[in-house]
């Protein structure tokens, strides 16, 4: 195994533990926003899509990368916006409309 792969595995394992610790404390009330918010975070594949689509020469890679850019951006923008829309509805006291 190459060094990059091992580093990747280390990073993956440690990040998973952090994820379990942090997310276990989130109350059920907020589980739907957690899901849509984490959904937006998984749109981080946009970074990968940018790297693949940015390469100058090989054409098919670029096309596939660009489709991935569109899909991942939908994921990021849609995820963060809809989470914000939900969270602004959570209020401590009733607001008289």
């Amino acid at each position: 195994m190459s060094e990059t792969l091992i580093t990747g595995l280390v990073v993956f394992t440690l990040a998973s533990f952090v994820g379990f610790e942090v997310i276990n404390k989130i109350p059920p009330t907020l589980h739907t926003p957690l899901m849509s918010g984490s959904n937006a975070i998984s749109g981080i594949s946009l970074v990968g899509a940018l790297l693949v689509s940015g390469q100058g020469n090989t054409n098919l890679s670029v096309i596939l990368g660009l489709i991935a850019v569109v899909l991942a951006t939908i994921n990021v923008v849609g995820g963060f916006l809809v989470t914000d829309r939900m969270l602004q509805m959570f209020k401590k006291k009733e607001v008289k409309a």
Partner: protein, 472 residues
């Protein structure tokens, strides 16, 4: 000067990724309380912006025009989706977004495969393995999520779809994928084999969700959420990018936790959810229970009587189920709670973990109807309080309040944690008719002496209750 740039830029990008990862973790931490949650979401969004900006500075990135167009199109679609979606349709939206994330990861892996094989003609073992994994997870997430979306929309039946030899077919497909993987590692130039494996991964996604029933959608959505994270991580391994690996791992962990919670709330194991096609084989037991119910009687009351019980109670716990959301009755329910509070009644809401169609769904629907979140109580908090509750008002919930889960060992839902409404002094159940719930079984709660049934559509009945309570 230019040389300095070349020297500093790569570390600068990596450091920006570190900042972005830290912002993601902080954002998730702040999602732990309704007070700070909105700020947390914004922190995560800022982290995303940092990561994207840093990546665009990477000197590998050349096609700025095309990329700007891609981001523009994606952002427009995402923004429209986010502003238009109804809160009842959140599971569909999340399902669809999971699918897009999976597809993006798969495309990244295929694009990278193309680039590496065309520039060097060979594929190192590490690269081959990570690309194969990324294609597999991404493909399953994509078609699995699309099918979950179609099922949730009601475009095809929500009942489990099974066919003969389903398991052998699945196993054959997995075996074929493994054989393809080995071949591809040995002969990386074989594009047709890669194509075949992409098709296989897409098929596996469909076959994975096909036999899962409507009642189990919260589990499937959570699991696919986890997959979308793992897909991003896999793409990170393909590109040797730590940012992707970290974020993907966070999301993978989050989805897995939610999946566990949902399974526990339904007293089922994950393998049972995935492979048993729950709900398709229950008609026999359901029918038998129906027969024995014939000689039992239910006590039916009208709205006026219900309003008396509620209005003169000291404490009322409202138990909303998905039936309430389908009837769009949450605003009427809030109005009822307002009127009761005006009379000095203590009103709380009891939320079962699987009350909606995704984790936490019911809380969002009630928040939308302006119910203050301190009134929303989890199952574990509220169950000890039912004994001191005068009236439990069940609206459009069924299986999650069935006492059979506690003592009837032959019941399919035996052992499932329930909201113990039968321990309250009185229980009022608002229901359209005597139909069984998702699991297709009778609810003995309806036949208890302390239980009063209020038949009618949730919205209408609650509306009548509101006007009757006003007259008290």
């Amino acid at each position: 000067m230019l040389q300095d740039m070349n020297l500093w830029l790569p570390s600068g990008i990596q450091l920006s990724y570190l900042v972005a990862s830290a912002l993601f973790i902080l954002g998730l931490k702040k999602l732990g309380s309704p007070v700070s949650a909105r700020q947390g979401n914004r922190l995560a969004a800022v982290g995303m912006l940092v990561a994207i900006a840093a990546t665009l500075l990477d000197q590998q990135v050349l096609n700025y025009g095309l990329i700007a167009a891609g981001i523009g199109i994606g952002a427009a679609i995402g923004a429209v989706m986010a502003t238009r979606v109804a809160m009842t349709s959140m599971p569909e939206m999340v399902g669809l977004l999971n699918g897009f994330g999976g597809a993006a990861s798969s495309l990244i892996a295929i694009g990278e495969f193309w680039r590496v094989t065309h520039s060097s003609g060979s594929l190192p073992l590490d690269a081959a393995v990570t690309i194969i994994l990324s294609v597999l997870i991404g493909g399953i997430t994509f078609t699995g999520s699309l099918l979950a979306f179609v099922k949730l929309r009601g475009l095809i039946t929500g009942t489990p779809i099974t066919f003969p030899l389903q398991q052998p077919v699945n196993i054959t497909l997995v075996a074929a994928f493994l054989v393809g993987s080995v071949y591809l590692i040995l002969h990386p130039e074989s594009v047709p084999v890669l194509m075949g494996m992409i098709v296989l991964s897409l098929l596996l996604g469909l076959l994975f969700v096909l036999p899962i029933g409507g009642a189990d959608t919260p589990v499937v959505i959570s699991l696919l959420n986890s997959f979308s994270g793992l897909a991003a991580s896999a793409a990170g391994f393909v590109l040797a990018n730590n940012m992707l690996i970290i974020s993907g791992a966070l999301v993978g962990a989050s989805g897995l936790i939610l999946t566990q919670i949902m399974c526990k709330a339904m007293n089922r194991s994950i393998t049972n959810v995935l492979f048993s096609a729950f709900g398709s084989g229950q008609s026999a037991t359901g029918g038998a229970a129906g027969d024995s119910a014939m000689d039992k009687t239910v006590r039916s009351i009208d709205a006026e009587e219900g309003a008396m019980m509620l209005g003169y109670a000291r404490s009322v716990v409202i138990v909303p189920g998905y039936g309430m959301a389908v009837a769009q009755a949450q605003h009427a329910v809030r109005e009822l709670a307002d009127q009761l509070e005006r009379l000095g009644v203590d009103v709380k809401y009891a939320i079962h973990p699987v009350a909606g169609r995704m984790p936490g769904h019911m809380n969002v629907l009630l928040a939308e109807a302006n119910v203050p979140y301190p009134q929303l109580h989890d199952m574990d908090d509220i169950n000890p309080e039912f004994e001191r509750t005068d009236v439990a008002l069940v609206i459009g919930a069924n299986d999650v309040v069935n006492p059979a889960a506690r003592h009837n060992q032959s019941s399919p839902i035996y052992g499932m944690p329930i909201l113990e409404v039968d321990r309250a002094q009185h229980t009022i159940v608002i229901k359209r008719g005597m139909n069984a719930g998702f699991s297709g079984i009778e609810n003995e709660l309806f036949y208890k002496d302390k239980t009063a049934m209020l038949f009618g559509s949730a919205k209408e009945v609650v509306g009548l209750l509101v006007s009757s309570v006003k007259d008290l």
